[in-house]
């Protein structure tokens, strides 16, 4: 099975492509290591020499600010040399194939690729075809997977609610096109959450979403009952023009998180969003900036999680 692609013979992380196929122990290890890096962020000197002399290439075939920046910062705090390439505007537009792009960079003695690509399976493909000493970290592929985002979300949840087994988590919005949601669902189920509930109109849910191990709800007011963690997803503007939704207004009315709706959830519920947020489309400003919002904490935690995953993947290659 291609899941094992992520693990070396000792079961240690070699690539980080998806949550799928990773067990609770490994996910917990990622969270624990991230915690030690998070503590370090408060220190005066924020750098450790773990990846000194290593070259990491951020390959972004899709635009991103937050994810790319936190990956860059994470690499720099591990003392690696890091280059970010925005491929969307360079090689592939000249007709170079994905494989050729990878081969060319390999020839420059790269140790790790951090890849974001618009097509599901792209990171798997690169991991399968790249030289054996190179690690691949998936920074989001198509609708498939965004495992570091899911792990930073788990990390944030754990900071506020340490026991996953009692948690009811609602993921709200465009599940169909969301790699974040797929990874979150897998991570929450692996970590033993009591319930993962997806709340969206049918047009924004994959046809067989219940096979992912979630309960399905089409009504936000009903769906928020007893919820400990609320994860809002970004709604892409182009969904309005592809007959998935009638209008932003109607979406906000039905699925937008307002202070009134938030009251339906448990009083100590936290509100999360992978960003970037659309104020007034999926989330009310008062909620986004309110006391229950942990959205900015998610961003800071992104660095620690990415440091954890990068150092773990490099460790299996005898780098440390």
């Amino acid at each position: 099975m291609s899941h094992n692609l992520q693990l070396n013979v000792e079961g240690k992380l070699k690539h980080f492509l998806t949550i799928d196929g990773l067990d609770k122990a490994l996910l917990t290890e990622i969270l624990d290591i991230a915690e030690s890096f998070a503590e370090m962020s408060g220190h005066h000197v924020k750098k450790v020499p773990l990846l000194r002399g290593k070259t990491i290439v951020n390959l972004f075939f899709e635009n991103s600010t937050r994810t790319r920046t936190t990956f860059e910062l994470a690499a720099k705090r591990l003392s690696a040399d890091v280059i970010s390439m925005n491929i969307a505007t360079s090689a592939t537009s000249k007709g170079e194939s994905l494989l050729d792009t990878i081969r060319n960079l390999e020839a420059m003695f790269v140790d790790m690729f951090v890849v974001r690509h618009g097509t599901s399976g792209a990171a798997h493909f690169i991991a399968e075809h790249t030289a054996p000493h190179i690690s691949v970290i998936n920074a989001g592929d198509g609708r498939h997977s965004h495992p570091t985002q899911a792990m930073l979300d788990m990390f944030t949840i754990r900071q506020f609610k340490p026991d996953f087994s009692t948690l009811r988590v609602a993921i709200i919005g465009d599940i169909l096109h969301s790699r974040v949601a797929r990874s979150q669902i897998l991570a929450l189920n692996t970590l033993g959450a009591a319930e993962v509930r997806v709340i969206a109109p049918k047009t924004l849910l994959p046809a067989h979403v219940q096979t992912l191990g979630v309960t399905v709800c089409h009504n936000l007011t009903e769906g928020l009952k007893d919820i400990d963690v609320i994860i809002m997803l970004r709604l892409q503007k182009e969904r309005m023009t592809s007959a998935l939704l009638p209008s932003e207004n109607e979406y906000f009315k039905c699925f937008g998180l307002t202070p009134e709706k938030l009251e339906i959830a448990k009083p100590d519920a936290i509100v999360m969003h992978p960003g970037p947020i659309n104020r007034g489309v999926e989330i009310d400003t008062r909620v986004a900036d309110g006391p229950q919002s942990v959205i900015l904490r998610q961003v800071s935690n992104g660095i620690a999680i990415r440091m954890a995953v990068m150092s773990m993947a490099m460790q299996t290659q005898g780098a440390v």
Partner: protein, 429 residues
């Protein structure tokens, strides 16, 4: 011309309800006699077929040999050898070549390529509409006169139903068979996998069953309206079977075929992002597979095909949705049919009929039988021979098969086309 005697064979000819052991006599490219030696017959060569089965050569109702236009993927030279090694003596070509088979000139070109490959029976399907665009009718009569066996959409959608209606009326006027693979493009969208649990888990754009069933339903309605003879190609799901069965009960003359891999593989067999499983129509659910199997057993769907689509390596090298769909399948057609027999789903005679008599009947071909006087298109195979799918056994230029590296059972030992031996297996054991 050569006289050939095939000895000691178990002869199975579903068209004549024959299943018995005895010799087959061939002369002048035709079947001369079965079991009884004709007066004065002296064989020039003798094929010892003890332990083997002799049956009519297979008729593969959906193939692509990639010429003209894509000879980097495969050629008539390579693929006709693969067909011969698979026991196939008649190849029906889909019209989606480059350029499309939509003029007599391209049809002539295809015939010329066939002649140069020394493989006689390559019968193209002409495009139903010009360039398969679904806009304007092709010159169907001219295509038929040039040698097209039928007209078809080559899996391309025809979104304007008035065009489909007119095309079917026109085909019906000339008693042309329409070979139609139902596909509603707006529903299949940019999908690359069955809209099921697998596509959901791996975030692949899905193709719902309705992309097939809605197009099928529309075509069935127009079949009744126009009186066109229709054969549905590569049916993949449960509700298509139900609709075809209803139409047949209602009295419409419609037939259908299934690509052999659809009877064995489902979305559950797909390995994540492994592009050899990228095929259209996509590998469906377990329930769909069971229904397709039932349809074959009950004769609702009569024909099996390879839906052969050889690819070059680059075509399958990439992130799954960006790779080209299709399986190279000529050489696995017989083993996949035999697997159904082994699983007691069908009898050997039923399996052979699905590759011979049934497609012959749909296409109104004289072949597909061992009746004396007919062309000696014959497949001799060893149903128990196990072989590994690898470079040493494979003839097609496309190695894009999910069975690569696997051991399959059932291997052709010789293939005769019009009495000429076009394949003879060399086995080392």
């Amino acid at each position: 011309m050569q006289r050939i005697l095939i000895e000691q064979a178990r002869v199975i000819d579903p068209a004549n309800s024959i299943d018995r052991t005895g010799p087959v006599y061939i002369a002048d490219g035709k079947i001369l006699a079965l079991f009884e030696k004709p007066d004065g017959f002296e064989a020039d060569s003798v094929i010892d077929a003890s332990g083997q089965i002799v049956c009519p050569g297979f008729i593969d109702i959906s193939t692509r040999l990639r010429q003209p236009g894509q000879s980097h993927k495969a050629t008539f030279q390579t693929e006709t050898k693969a067909a011969a090694a698979g026991g196939i003596t008649t190849l029906i070509l889909q019209p989606d070549t480059r350029p499309v088979i939509d003029t007599p000139a391209i049809t002539e070109l295809v015939k010329e390529l066939a002649e140069n490959s020394n493989y006689r029976q390559i019968l193209p399907i002409g495009a139903l509409t010009q360039n398969l665009d679904g806009q304007e009718l092709s010159s169907m009569l001219a295509l038929q006169e040039a040698g097209c066996i039928a007209v078809g959409n080559g899996g391309k959608p025809i979104s304007n139903l008035l065009v489909l209606r007119r095309a079917m009326e026109y085909a019906a006027s000339h008693d042309l068979l329409l070979i139609y693979r139902p596909n509603e493009h707006s529903l299949s969208n940019e999908g690359c996998a069955h809209e099921g649990a697998f596509a959901t888990r791996y975030g692949l754009p899905g193709i719902p069953e309705t992309a097939e069933t809605i197009a099928l339903s529309q075509c069935l309605e127009l079949t009744e309206l126009t009186g066109c003879r229709v054969h549905f190609g590569q049916i993949s799901c449960r509700r298509s079977v139900i609709k075809i069965q209803q139409a047949q009960k209602y009295g419409l003359s419609v037939s259908a075929d299934i690509a052999a891999h659809q009877l064995h593989l489902t979305e559950n067999d797909m390995k994540p992002f492994d592009s050899v499983y990228h095929v259209l129509p996509p590998l469906r659910s377990e329930q769909d597979k069971l229904f397709l199997r039932k349809a074959l057993t009950q004769g609702i769907i009569g024909s099996l095909c390879s839906d052969h689509q050889p690819h070059d390596l680059d075509a399958k090298l990439g992130a799954f949705p960006e790779t080209e769909p299709g399986i190279s399948a000529l050489e696995t057609l017989l083993p996949l049919m035999l697997k159904l027999v082994d699983e007691k789903l069908i009898t050997l005679s039923q399996g052979i009929a699905a590759l011979t008599r049934n497609p012959a009947k749909v296409l109104r071909l004289e072949s597909g039988t061992l009746t004396p006087g007919k062309s000696a298109d014959i497949c001799i195979f060893d149903p128990g021979r196990r072989w590994q799918v690898d470079r040493s056994t494979w003839y097609s230029k496309g190695i894009n098969t999910p069975y690569w590296g696997e051991t399959l059972t059932g291997r052709v030992s010789a293939t005769l086309q019009s009495g000429k031996i076009i394949f003879q297996g060399v086995f080392h054991d």
